[in-house]
Amino acid sequence: MITVDGVSKSYGGFRAVDDVSFTCLPGQVTGFLGPNGAGKSTTMRIMVGLTPPSSGRVTIGGHRYADLPNPGRHVGVLLDASAQHAGRTGREVLMIGAVTMGLPTSRVDEMLELVSLTRAESRRRVRNYSLGMRQRLGIAHALLGDPSILILDEPANGLDPAGIHWMRGLLREYAERGGTVCLSSHLLHEVERIADELILIGQGRIVAQGTKQDLLQTRGAYVKAVEQEVLRDALHREGISAQPSGEGLRSDAEAIQIGKVAAAHQITLIELRPAEGEGLEELFLQLTGDTQREGVPA
């Protein structure tokens, strides 16, 4: 479990991370979502002690990261797949990790197999790797020490659709075995499909957090009736406000309340359902509006 408690980081007068608090629980994939420059990477670097926070603290399973005797055995970290020595072979990158963590060489081969890097590929130098291959190598490196916690910054970056599918399955299974996964992304749809818990960050601040269900479901209902005006008046008399939305009405009340009113007034409903979960996307687009630097999936 990762606990981020009131973490802030300022650069001069600029607050890159502003009083961020959240937890990543075992058995769950926690998606850290926000546009580029929102403070995701800075927060993740603070988690593993590479960046000192201006205030606040992070604990990993109750410990400061720096106090872990052999961090790689507990926490798998991938912050930037491109941050590898271009002149080393992929295998050597993993070997250095394995020697540091005190793991047998066989573990390196297992991980190479897990991420589908062939023997020949693993003997090529990282400078000749595509971003997708570097990402696979980075994931192999993060999993090397058989950690119970994973911290991955934009792990899907550069992977092809098949690769993204593969990674999703891998992390899903990892969480189902009880692992803690914290991953970041600037792509809503990517995170939406893999994360159980979502944390939305924009301009250094958390703007929304909760389970995917919580965030995706906005309160209220959408209703369409044959006698549209009659229904609206009836709802009004019950103190329920409803606004025209498309061909129907949208209300803050729950579907069951609207259904009861309609039944009492013998109104014919054509459609009655919880309001569409477009809140997350709206929120995300709103967030990314100012700071966005690349295409946001619409």
Binding site: G62, H85, S148
Partner: protein, 260 residues
């Protein structure tokens, strides 16, 4: 997502052993040889050392082919090449951004730097031993009278000290600049710049033994020089200025720096 067996919120680290220093030495030694650039640097140090011995053998008079002359010749070149080794060992972590991984796996950055210091010095000792071995062969075959005159612990110590200081100076500049080009250029250019300025500014020339490492090291390079207390004081102050100071500032920088 609720069908999981959640593990306890606290991480049990009681069964995990701390990363030992010897393991870090192994890792840093690997890094010394695991890229083409680093491997070629090692090969070059070996080849150049051998070449100097051969060239010196061919151009010198029979009676000059002494052990101390051979080692002296290799020493000048090694003092240029050896410091590049620790510079690369330190700065590549930043230029290649592997520091991100290194310091994530070993949060104790001081321990990593110390491992780099030890490995660099060990590599330096290996290079010096190679120079001694080749110089021994050259002297044995050279035919000079008393070819091994003065080749004792005193000279070995001086030579070793000289090369070790070069290694540590390289390390210090590497830590200070965290950039290979800057560290190498400053390492090579500073002594030259100093002597140029000292030539026109006599006050500096008088102070040179105290503040210029190259000048302070002159007695170390001369097998026949007698080193007195005064010389040691010169070495001490110059070392403080050119090795201890940049090393301290560089170490402080690395320990505090945000690794991106």
């Amino acid at each position: 997502m609720s069908t999981t067996t959640a593990e306890p919120a606290t991480l049990d680290i009681s069964g995990t052993a701390r990363i030992g220093f010897l393991r870090l030495l192994r890792v840093e030694m690997r890094k010394l040889v695991d890229t083409r650039a680093s491997r070629w640097l090692l090969i070059m140090i070996g080849v150049v050392t051998a070449a100097i011995i051969v060239i010196f053998f061919l151009v010198s008079k029979t009676n000059d082919r002494t052990f101390n002359n051979f080692t002296g010749a290799t020493g000048i070149l090694q003092s240029y090449l050896l410091p590049v080794l620790p510079i690369m060992l330190v700065t590549s972590e930043w230029s290649q951004r592997t520091a991100l991984t290194t310091f994530t796996l070993v949060p104790n950055r001081g321990k990593v730097v110390l491992a780099k210091v030890v490995v660099s010095v060990l590599a330096g000792i290996a290079a010096v031993l190679l120079a001694f071995a080749l110089a021994g062969i050259g002297a044995a075959l050279g035919g000079a009278n008393d070819a091994f005159h003065g080749a004792g612990a005193d000279w070995f110590g001086r030579f070793g000290l000289l090369e070790t200081m070069g290694i540590l100076e390289g390390l210090a500049f590497g830590l200070l600049f965290l950039n290979s080009a800057a560290a190498i250029v400053v390492y090579l250019v500073v002594p030259i710049a100093f002597s140029i300025v000292a030539n026109v500014w006599s006050a500096l020339r008088d102070a040179a033994p105290w503040i210029d490492l190259g000048t302070a090291q002159t007695p170390l390079q001369d097998p026949n020089a007698h080193i007195d207390g005064h010389d040691w004081l010169h070495l001490l102050t110059a070392t403080l200025i050119w090795i201890v100071l940049p090393f301290t500032v560089g170490l402080w920088r690395v320990l505090r720096a945000e690794v991106k």
